[in-house]
């Protein structure tokens, strides 16, 4: 994965495959403690303790189309490479929480990338799923919640190109307003 937003896109696809109706993405930049945290929380079907113990194994997957599952191992690898850590917890029938912690100024921490695009494209493809994205920095925090967006849009489809590009701009404007770290 070239950047962190693509990891988030990948993990969100897992949540969608697990039938989540709510996906919470939280990014927290803590410059004082030099920690960059990504937390993805869903209310999908969750996993058993046995399955949970195997998800970081690249040769484990629930797919039938191929024999490897690299999404979670790649994120774990990238977090640990910076001296950070990776945690996953899950309860069957309740959902899954993934937390990846990065050492913020580490050379190997990937840039965030096009997070606005990731959130908006996923929301546009899955209008029935509520996606909440919270980004916090030392200057403040911004919350993007698709339930608000759907409230405004009503029957107008969110997958319209003009709306997609507007929503991306809106997220980017707000992220710049809280001085988020792009690099």
């Amino acid at each position: 994965m070239k950047d962190l937003s693509l990891h988030i896109l990948d993990i969100m696809q897992n949540s969608l495959a697990a039938g989540a109706k709510l996906i919470d993405v939280e990014i927290a930049e803590n410059k004082t403690e030099n920690i960059y945290t990504i937390c993805i929380n869903d209310n999908g079907k969750g996993m058993s303790a046995h399955m949970l113990s195997k998800v970081t194994d690249p040769f484990f997957t629930t797919r039938t189309t191929r024999k490897v599952g690299l999404g979670i191992p790649l994120l774990k690898e990238n977090a640990e490479r910076t001296g950070g850590k990776f945690e996953i917890s899950s309860l069957q029938g309740e959902g899954t929480v993934i937390k990846a912690t990065f050492v913020m100024n580490h050379f190997d921490r990937q840039p965030l990338g096009d997070i606005a695009g990731v959130i908006v494209l996923t929301a546009a493809s899955n209008p029935a799923v509520r996606i909440k994205y919270v980004h916090s920095t030392c200057s403040g925090s911004y919350t993007f919640d698709t339930s608000e967006i759907m409230g405004v849009l009503g029957n107008t489809p969110v997958n319209n190109a003009e709306i997609i590009s507007f929503l991306k701009e809106m997220i980017n404007d707000n992220l710049e307003n809280i001085n988020y770290t792009t690099g």
Binding site: M1, L6, L9, D10, Q13, A17, R63, T64, T65, R66, G69, L70, G71, L74, D114, G117, V118, L121, T122, A124, S125, N126, E148, I149, V152, L153, G154, T156, P157, N159, N160, A161, E162, I163, I164, S165, F166, L167, E169, M170, D173, N174, N177
Partner: protein, 132 residues
């Protein structure tokens, strides 16, 4: 500093989009629209599927082709990522492999507009790796 866009601006965009949609086909008849599904699993994402999805959303709109672009899971063609499945109304879905922006452009111009298959792109069939 420029003004930060807000939900109020979204209301204005909504009105303008709705006005245009009345002229065009409305999306409550999705079978009449071109449907593009971009394979968005780990393999696809790592190969650049997100950039292809951005490209398709923007270009189909620019070229005024009524279409729905969405994400889908892994189709089993990890070797040929990014892959996209294109369904032109009234035709069987076709999966194109090794799609980059140049090829995505050809898919729009040749296949979606004229129904020609595209040179240099393997339209992959529906067998999975397991069944080969």
């Amino acid at each position: 500093m420029t003004k930060i866009k807000s939900l109020n601006d979204l209301r204005a965009i909504k009105a303008s989009v709705e006005a245009k949609m009345n002229l065009r086909e409305r999306s409550d008849a999705p079978e009449k629209l071109v449907q593009v599904k971009v394979a968005m699993a780990t393999c696809g994402i790592a190969s650049g599927a997100k950039a292809i999805m951005d490209f398709m959303v923007n270009e189909l709109d620019k070229r005024q082709i009524p279409a729905v672009v969405s994400q889908t899971g892994c189709m089993g063609y990890c070797f040929a990522e990014p892959t996209i499945e294109v369904t032109v109304p009234g035709k069987e879905p076709i999966v194109f492999g090794y799609v980059n922006e140049k090829k995505a452009d050809q898919i729009i111009e040749k296949y979606i507009k004229n129904g020609e298959l595209v040179e240099g792109i393997i339209p992959v069939n529906y067998e999975s790796i397991e069944s080969k």
